[in-house]
């Protein structure tokens, strides 16, 4: 049975990539928007662009993974094509994980473009690739599953997109993407540490730092915890909707 599920996850992710993700709206939302946003800060203060790179990568992870979740879930729910997947001999968690992995792979592609571009363009060769992988991969899973969770909560595509925008923009402002969390008022710092993007940004900053830090592993564990926290209720909600 697990082999059927793995096959299902793989082909659902592949189909979503071909059908929805690798299309201009997803690419622009996933990569152009974060780049334009960070460029706006760069133009304001061109001297410290290197410090904005972790934030740029974190935003790319966040926006690319959630770029098409509303389409892959709510649009398919409306058309009944998600139901078709559930008629196949694979489990319901496998169907949802296929959707999450599709977003994760697309996010990884977009993040690779931005990361490699930043490293080569700015000469940031001191980056720790192991740390980078330990932060990027769990972060992609976290935000893809967050997108899936919010999408299965509602019915319509526009409702899902509206619902997704709230955590996206709150996290961009409070998770240290542009302003360090330590510089924020104490109350906002507490709120920031409830958000997964804070751990993504923190882990990415440590990946680009020349010193080695054990806190990267803490960030990874917290991010994996967030993944479980988002994906399990998403599966449960999908069960309630169908079974």
């Amino acid at each position: 049975m697990w082999r059927d599920d793995l096959r299902g996850i793989f082909y659902i992710a592949l189909k979503d990539m071909r059908t929805y993700y690798l299309k201009p709206p997803s690419v622009s939302w996933g990569i152009v928007f974060p780049t334009a946003w960070i460029l706006a800060f760069y133009l304001r203060n061109p001297q410290n662009f290197e410090q904005l790179v972790p934030g740029l990568i974190a935003m790319t992870i966040l926006f690319s993974t959630t770029a098409a979740e509303a389409v892959v879930i709510n649009f398919e729910l409306r058309l009944g094509s998600l139901e078709r997947l559930l008629l196949a001999p694979i489990s319901l968690p496998a169907v949802l994980l296929g959707k999450v992995i599709g977003g994760t792979i697309f996010g990884l592609m977009m993040t690779m473009v931005v990361t490699v571009g930043s490293v080569l363009g700015l000469g940031l060769f001191q980056v720790n690739l192991v740390y980078l992988a330990l932060i990027i991969v769990p972060s992609l899973l976290v935000f893809s599953s967050l997108g899936a969770l919010l999408c299965v909560l509602v019915k319509e595509v526009f409702e899902a997109q509206t619902l997704l925008n709230a955590p996206r923009f709150i996290m961009v402002f409070l998770s240290g993407v542009v302003y360090p969390v330590s510089a924020m008022p104490l109350v906002l710092q507490y709120i920031a540490y409830l958000m997964p993007l804070t751990y993504t940004v923190d882990g990415l900053r440590q990946s680009f730092s020349p010193s080695l830090s054990i806190f990267v592993f803490v960030d990874t564990l917290v991010l994996l915890g967030f993944f479980v926290l988002f994906v399990l209720p998403a599966i449960r909600l999908l069960y309630r909707r169908f079974v």
Partner: protein
């Protein structure tokens, strides 16, 4: 004969609505088994439970020997489902849609394309294999949806209202295809609210109303139920509701039902007496009669007799098509 579906006290409740109410039936290997009933009868809910899309509130069922709750993933390997809505992917071509289904059902890599192309040829869609599903007509979408359900050569095929929304020619072609599938040994579970479709295709029919099974039998035996009483069909030049009401008043003990094309059917009574009353009614100047016939009962007549419902409840849902 071997049963491929066995249903015992299957029940589904949505809050206060009892959609399916303790139904029991078996489907035999190789037959076309029809679920006939008006909209809201519980046909689709039953299919959803039998295919794992909905969990029963009570009761149990086995599909191809597998329990529909605990072993449904295994059962899905051997069943094909054609939902009421043609729900393949608009953004994929006909061929890619079928290949994707072949991937999901675990058909070996080297056989997927050949199997998809074989089905496209069978359904007359091969020439359009590279066209997007979204560009297909309703009939072509329906045909491809059925092809997708057959990609893994299922032993049992669920067809939920397969001809809804199709034009007459496409519906006829689809019915021929369903008949051919049966000859290939596929057991078919068909839901429909088209009485003539059930009569044409099914070996046995369940009449389902408000979630309850009223009768299970062959079309012939169901029609025999209606044969117990006489049926007089009267064609008027122009049938109005006033005529139907007028006839009902003159024949209060009988059932007078408007069918189609300015016709009414009068069920029961002694034919000579009924005829006399009808002619008297016409003579009184209330209506002009074209033709009077004694008719052999159809499945529609059996449906009326068994359910007590007017056939218009089914006709209305067809958007006027009968």
């Amino acid at each position: 004969m071997e049963n491929v579906i066995e249903v015992t006290n299957l029940t589904k409740r949505y809050d206060k609505i009892l959609a399916v109410d303790h139904i029991n039936f078996e489907v035999r290997k190789g037959e076309i088994f029809g679920f006939l009933g008006p909209n809201g009868a519980g046909k689709t809910t039953t299919i959803r439970m039998l295919t794992g899309l909905s969990r029963p509130t009570a009761g149990n069922a086995r599909v191809l020997g597998y329990d529909i709750v605990s072993e449904i993933v295994e059962a899905k390997k051997h069943i094909g489902v054609v939902p009421e809505i043609s729900n393949l992917y608009d953004e994929l071509s006909a061929l890619k849609n079928l290949v994707f289904m072949a991937q999901l059902y675990g058909i070996p890599c080297n056989q997927r394309k050949a199997r998809a192309e074989e089905l496209l040829k069978t359904f007359g869609l091969y020439e359009r294999k590279d066209h997007l599903f979204g560009t297909f007509s309703h009939g072509m979408k329906r045909a491809l949806t059925i092809a997708a359900a057959l990609i893994h050569s299922p032993k049992l095929l669920f067809l939920d209202e397969p001809t809804v929304g199709l034009d007459v020619a496409a519906a006829r072609s689809l019915r021929n295809l369903i008949g051919n599938l049966r000859h290939q040994g596929v057991t078919i579970f068909l839901t429909t609210h088209y009485l003539e479709e059930a009569d044409l295709l099914c070996n046995r029919i369940v009449i389902l109303v408000k979630g309850r099974i009223l009768k299970i039998d062959t079309p012939e035996m169901l029609k025999a139920v209606a044969e117990e009483e006489s049926i007089i069909e009267v064609s008027f030049k122009k049938l109005t509701s006033k005529i139907v009401e007028g006839l009902s008043e003159r024949l209060p003990e009988l059932k007078v039902i408007a069918t189609n094309h300015n016709k009414v059917r009068i069920y029961g009574g002694v034919p000579v007496y009924v005829l006399e009353k009808v002619l008297q009614y016409a003579k009184d100047g209330d209506a002009e009669i074209d033709e009077v016939n004694s008719v052999k009962p159809s499945l529609e007549d059996a449906f009326i007799k068994i359910t007590g419902l007017s056939p218009s409840i089914m006709a209305t849902e067809k958007g006027g098509r009968r």
